[in-house]
C-alpha cells in the first residue's frame, strides 16, 4: 500500500514540477513585454512613461536575468504568493483566482459527475435495446465529436438569440449584486444552464458510447457466457458486466479530465462565464505572465488532485488493486 502510493506521489510531484515549469516558461516566449502593454494602455505623456516604465519593470521583477526570475518564482510560490496581475493591476493574482474559482466549481463538478453518471447509465441501457442503439447511439457519436465551443455557440444562438429563452452571457443579471435572495439564485441558475448544458451534452455522448461498447464487449466475455450457461438470470449477468465495464470508464475519467477542463475554458469564453478559463484568455491577450501562471497552476493542481482522487476510488472499486497491494505489503 505504502509503496503503491509512494510511487504515485513521486510521479505526481515530478509532473507538478514539469507542468509548473512549462507554465512559467510559455508566456515568456511570447514576443514583447507586458509592461509595454500596461504603458500603451495608460496613454501617458512620453516623459512620464519613461519614468513609469522602469518603475514597473522593477515592481514586477522583470529587470533581473531570466534564471533569477525563475528562481524568484519558485521562492514566491512556496510562500503562497502568485504575484500581482498586470492586466488587473494592482490586484493580487490569488484574489482574482479566488473570485473565479466558485464559478468553475459550479460549472465543472456537476457537469463532469452528472454526465459521467448519466452517460454510463444510458450507454448500458442502449446496449440492451436495438431500437435505442440504432437511433440515439449515432447521435451520441456526433455529440462526442462536437467541439465544446461550437456547441456552446449553437446553444447561445438558438436558446439565447433566437428563442430568447435563456441569458447567454455572464454569471448573473447585470442589475444585481450577489446576495442570498431567491431572485439572485434564480438569475444565477438561468445563466448557468446553457454553459452547463454545452459541457454536459458533449461529455454525455462520450461516456454513453464508451459504456455501450464496453457492455457489448463484456457480454461476449467468457465469464458472461459461463454465467449464462449456469442459468443465471439476465439481470445478474448484466449487473456483472456493468461493474466490469465501469472500471475502464473510471480510468477514462482520469484521462479525460484535462480535455474536459480545456473544454470548459472554451465554454466559459463563449458564455463570458467569469471562471478561470475566461481569465486565461484575458491573461494571454494581455500578456499577463502572473495571472496566466496562477490560473494554469490552479488547473494543474486541480487536475492532479482529481486524478489522485480517482486513483483512490479505483482502489475502492476494483478489488484486484487491493489484493495486489496487500500482496506487496
Amino acid at each position: 500500500m505504502r509503496r503503491y502510493f509512494g510511487r504515485k506521489l513521486l510521479i505526481y510531484i515530478i509532473t507538478f514540477i514539469l507542468a509548473v515549469t512549462v507554465d512559467w516558461a510559455i508566456p515568456r516566449f511570447m514576443p514583447g513585454n507586458p509592461v509595454e502593454i500596461l504603458i500603451a494602455r495608460a496613454g501617458l505623456k512620453a516623459e512620464s512613461a519613461k519614468l513609469i516604465y522602469s518603475y514597473y519593470m522593477k515592481a514586477f521583477g522583470l529587470n533581473v536575468p531570466i534564471w533569477r526570475q525563475y528562481l524568484n518564482f519558485w521562492i514566491a510560490l512556496f510562500h503562497g504568493d502568485l504575484g500581482v496581475s498586470l492586466w488587473l493591476f494592482p490586484q493580487p493574482v490569488m484574489k482574482i483566482i479566488k473570485q473565479a474559482v466558485p464559478y468553475d466549481i459550479l460549472l465543472l463538478l456537476p457537469a463532469i459527475l452528472l454526465s459521467w453518471l448519466a452517460g454510463n447509465k444510458f450507454g448500458a441501457y442502449a446496449a440492451r435495446s436495438k431500437w435505442l442503439d440504432n437511433t440515439i447511439s449515432p447521435l451520441a457519436y456526433i455529440l462526442q465529436a462536437t467541439p465544446y465551443m461550437w456547441l456552446g455557440m449553437l446553444l447561445a444562438w438558438l436558446c439565447g438569440v433566437r428563442l430568447h429563452l435563456l441569458p447567454f452571457s455572464g454569471a448573473y443579471s447585470n442589475a444585481m449584486m450577489p446576495s442570498f435572495s431567491w431572485s439572485f439564485v434564480w438569475s444565477l441558475l438561468q445563466h448557468w444552464i446553457l454553459p452547463f448544458a454545452s459541457l454536459f451534452i458533449v461529455q454525455f455522448g462520450g461516456w454513453a458510447i464508451g459504456m455501450r461498447n464496453m457492455i457489448i464487449y463484456e457480454l461476449e466475455a467468457d465469464y458472461s457466457h459461463y454465467l449464462e450457461a449456469l442459468g443465471a438470470p439476465r439481470k445478474l449477468v448484466r449487473s456483472y458486466a456493468f461493474h466490469n465495464a465501469l472500471l475502464p470508464q473510471i480510468t477514462g475519467l482520469a484521462l479525460q479530465l484535462g480535455a474536459i477542463v480545456g473544454g470548459a475554458l472554451a465554454t466559459e469564453i463563449v458564455f463570458s462565464y467569469p471562471g478561470i478559463g475566461f481569465l486565461i484568455l484575458q491573461a494571454i491577450q494581455n500578456h499577463d505572465y502572473f495571472l496566466l501562471q496562477g490560473s494554469c497552476l490552479f488547473i494543474i493542481i486541480g487536475v492532479l488532485l482529481a486524478n489522485f482522487l480517482i486513483d483512490l476510488a479505483y482502489v475502492l472499486v476494483d478489488p484486484r488493486t487491493r489484493v495486489g497491494m496487500q500482496g506487496e505489503g
Binding site: 514576443p31 514583447g32 494602455r41 512613461a49 488587473l88 466558485p102 464559478y103 450577489p178 463570458s272 467569469p274
Partner: protein, 570 residues
C-alpha cells in the same frame, strides 16, 4: 453501485450549494432600471483599481465621476470651463495664478481647499506618477491666500500646462497624505473618496457601480444635477455582445466601434448617434500609416509619395466603415483643429489618392517592374514586399489593411497585410522592426501640440520605453525645435500658433514621415429606451461628448449626465 451513485449525486448537489454560497457574499442589491444608466465600452476587464494616477487602468469614471479636475475642456468649442477652479491666468510669463472655487467638499464631508491642490501636484515631485515630468519645468507652488495658488515655472510650456489643467485629478490630502509613496503610485485605492458627482457603490467582475452624490458641490454652485441615480459600467466581453445589449436597450450608452450601426439606425431600434447621418460620430483621433524610415525603400521620399498617392482612403471610408468615419485632411489634423490647417500649404503639397500619379512617381524615381510580375522592384532589381501590421482582432483595421494592400497592388506595390497579436504589433513598432503599421495614438486635446509632439517625437532612442510616438523614426531637428517652440507659445496667441503649425505642416507634407488616412470616431451608440435628451449635433440640443472613455468625462461628458431625462416606462 447505487451507493456510489447517490454519493456522487449528493456531491454534485453540495458543490452547487457551495458555489452559490461562496458567490453570494455581498449585501442584497438590485438596481432599479429606470434610475440606472448602463454604459459600456471603456472597461476591458473587471475594475481593478480606483487610483486616478494610474491612467488607463483605473475603473471607468475614476476621473470625472469621482475625482475631478480644475477645468473642463470642450474640444468642440475649444473652450475651458472652470470646474474645481473658479479662474486661472498667467500673471507674468512664468507665473500662473489659480483661484479655487469656494465651498468645495469631498464626499466624506471635509472641505476641498487649495492645500489639497498643492498637495496633489507635489505628489508628482515626491514619487513617480503619470504627471511627474511636469516638475522638470515647474519650480514651485506657493499659497497666496486661502483660495489662491501661484505656480512658478522655469520654462512655461503653455500648451502643455493647459492640457494638465483639465487632466490632473485632485485628491484629498487628509486621505492620501498618510499613505506610503508606493501606495500612492500603485495602490488600488479601494473605496475612493472624491469630490465628484458620483460615489463609489460597489463592483464585481462584470461591472462598476457608481451612485449619485447628493451633496455634490456643483448642485449649489452651478445648479447642476446629474440625472441617473446609478451608473453601471459593464465590462466589455465582445463587440457582438455589446451590440446585442444596445439593440435590446439593456445598455444605454456604448462606446465601442460596432460595425453596421449606420444601417441599424433606421431598423426600428431605439438607437441614437451624435450626428443623425454620416459620419455619425465626432472625430476622436486620426488613423495614419506609420512608415519605417530606417528601411529601404521607405527611406526614399519618392517611394513614400507614391505610396501616399496609391492609397484609396475613400474606399476604406465607404466600404470598410460604411461612412462611419471621414477621410483625413492631408495634415492629419482633426476637424476641430481645422482653423490651424494652412490651406495654402495643403493645396500646394497635400497628397490625395491618384493612382496614375503614383505610377508616374514610381517610374520617375526608378522603381520598375523588371520581372513583369505586376509589382515594381527596388532600384537594384530586388523584390519589394512590405508587411503592413495591424493588431489581430481589430476587424475594421484588418479590413482596411487589406484594402490598402489591394489599392497598392493597383499601382504596382506589393503590401501584405499581417495581423500579429496586440503585443506583437506594439513591440514591432517600439523596436522599429516593422515596415508599415496603422496607428492612431494621438487623441483629441486642447492643442495640436499633442499631435505634433507625437508624430515628431524627438527622443528617438527612448521610443521603446516612452512610447512617445514617431515610430517611423523621422529625424528632423528643425521639426523637433518647432514642436518645442509651439509648446512655448501662449495659447491665447492664435497667430503665433498658426505660424508655427504652418511650418510644421510644410515639413510634414513635404517629407511624409507618415500618411494620415481617416478619423476614428468617438464611437457612441445611445439607446433611447430608458434615457433621452442625448447629446446631438442638432441645433438646440446639448453638444456634450457622449463618451465614457478615460479623459472624456472631463471633456464635457460629465455635463451630458446633467441633461439626460428618464423615459417614463409604461
Amino acid at each position: 453501485m447505487r451507493r456510489v451513485v447517490s454519493i456522487l449525486l449528493v456531491l454534485a448537489l453540495l458543490t452547487g450549494v457551495l458555489g452559490v454560497t461562496s458567490v453570494a457574499a455581498a449585501a442584497t442589491t438590485e438596481f432599479p432600471r429606470s434610475q440606472t444608466l448602463y454604459t459600456g465600452g471603456k472597461q476591458w476587464g473587471p475594475p481593478s483599481n480606483w487610483n486616478p494616477f494610474m491612467t488607463g487602468n483605473y475603473a471607468t469614471g475614476t476621473i470625472g465621476l469621482c475625482y475631478e479636475t480644475l477645468f473642463l475642456y470642450d474640444p468642440l468649442t475649444a473652450k475651458f470651463t472652470p470646474w474645481l477652479a473658479s479662474s486661472g491666468k498667467w500673471t507674468n510669463s512664468t507665473t500662473y495664478r489659480l483661484v479655487l472655487r469656494p465651498g468645495l467638499t469631498w464626499s466624506d464631508g471635509k472641505a476641498l481647499t487649495v492645500d489639497d491642490v498643492k498637495f496633489t501636484i507635489e505628489l508628482g515631485k515626491k514619487t513617480t506618477l503619470n504627471f511627474s515630468s511636469l516638475w522638470s519645468w515647474l519650480t514651485s507652488i506657493s499659497k497666496v491666500n486661502s483660495t489662491t495658488l501661484d505656480f512658478k515655472f522655469k520654462t512655461a510650456l503653455y500648451q502643455e500646462w493647459d492640457n494638465y489643467l483639465y487632466n490632473l485629478p485632485i485628491v484629498p490630502q487628509h486621505i492620501w497624505g498618510t499613505r506610503s509613496l508606493t501606495d500612492v503610485a500603485t495602490g488600488a485605492n479601494d473605496k475612493p473618496v472624491g469630490s465628484g458627482a458620483y460615489l463609489y457603490n460597489t463592483y464585481d467582475q462584470t461591472k462598476m457601480v457608481w451612485e449619485k452624490n447628493v451633496n455634490w458641490w456643483a448642485t449649489k454652485a452651478l445648479k447642476l444635477s446629474v440625472a441617473p441615480k446609478y451608473i453601471i459600467d459593464l465590462v466589455n466581453t465582445s463587440n457582438e455582445n455589446s451590440l446585442g445589449l444596445v439593440l435590446q436597450g439593456q445598455e444605454d450608452l456604448n462606446n465601442n466601434y460596432l460595425p453596421g450601426i449606420s444601417t441599424l439606425l433606421t431598423g426600428g431600434y431605439a438607437l441614437h448617434t451624435y450626428y443623425p447621418s454620416a459620419p455619425y460620430n465626432i472625430a476622436a483621433n486620426t488613423a495614419w500609416l506609420d512608415i519605417n524610415l530606417q528601411k529601404k525603400p521607405m527611406s526614399d521620399l519618392a517611394f513614400r509619395k507614391a505610396l501616399a498617392y496609391g492609397i484609396n482612403v475613400a474606399d476604406i471610408v465607404s466600404r470598410d466603415y460604411n461612412n462611419m468615419v471621414q477621410a483625413s485632411n492631408p495634415t492629419g489634423l482633426l476637424p476641430m483643429w481645422n482653423k490651424y490647417v494652412d490651406q495654402a500649404v495643403v493645396k500646394k503639397l497635400g497628397i490625395t489618392y491618384n493612382p496614375a500619379k503614383a505610377k508616374q512617381v514610381l517610374a520617375a524615381a526608378g522603381y520598375k517592374d523588371v520581372n513583369h510580375d505586376g509589382y515594381v522592384e527596388n532600384k537594384d532589381g530586388t523584390k519589394i514586399t512590405l508587411k503592413l501590421i495591424v493588431p489581430n482582432g481589430w476587424s475594421d483595421w484588418m479590413a482596411a489593411a487589406q484594402m490598402i494592400s489591394k489599392s497598392a497592388k493597383a499601382v504596382g506595390l506589393r503590401i501584405v497585410a499581417s495581423y500579429p497579436d496586440f503585443n506583437g504589433y506594439l513591440d514591432a513598432r517600439l523596436k522599429g522592426t516593422f515596415d508599415l503599421a496603422i496607428d492612431n495614438q494621438a487623441n483629441v486635446s486642447n492643442s495640436p501640440w499633442t499631435y505634433y509632439h507625437f508624430i515628431f517625437y524627438d527622443q528617438l532612442k527612448d521610443i521603446p520605453t516612452t512610447q512617445g510616438g514617431n515610430y517611423g523614426r523621422y529625424n528632423n531637428k528643425t521639426a523637433f525645435a518647432l514642436v518645442t517652440q509651439l509648446d512655448k507659445t501662449k495659447t491665447t496667441d492664435l497667430t503665433a500658433m498658426k505660424a508655427v503649425i504652418s511650418k510644421l505642416q510644410t515639413i510634414q507634407l513635404a517629407n511624409l514621415p507618415m500618411i494620415p488616412l481617416w478619423y476614428n470616431g468617438m464611437w457612441a451608440q445611445m439607446s433611447t429606451t430608458y434615457w433621452t435628451n442625448w447629446p446631438s449635433s442638432v441645433a438646440g440640443k446639448n453638444h456634450y461628448l457622449p463618451v465614457t472613455w478615460n479623459g472624456y468625462w472631463n471633456m464635457t461628458a460629465i455635463l451630458m449626465l446633467t441633461q439626460l431625462k428618464a423615459v417614463k416606462q409604461p
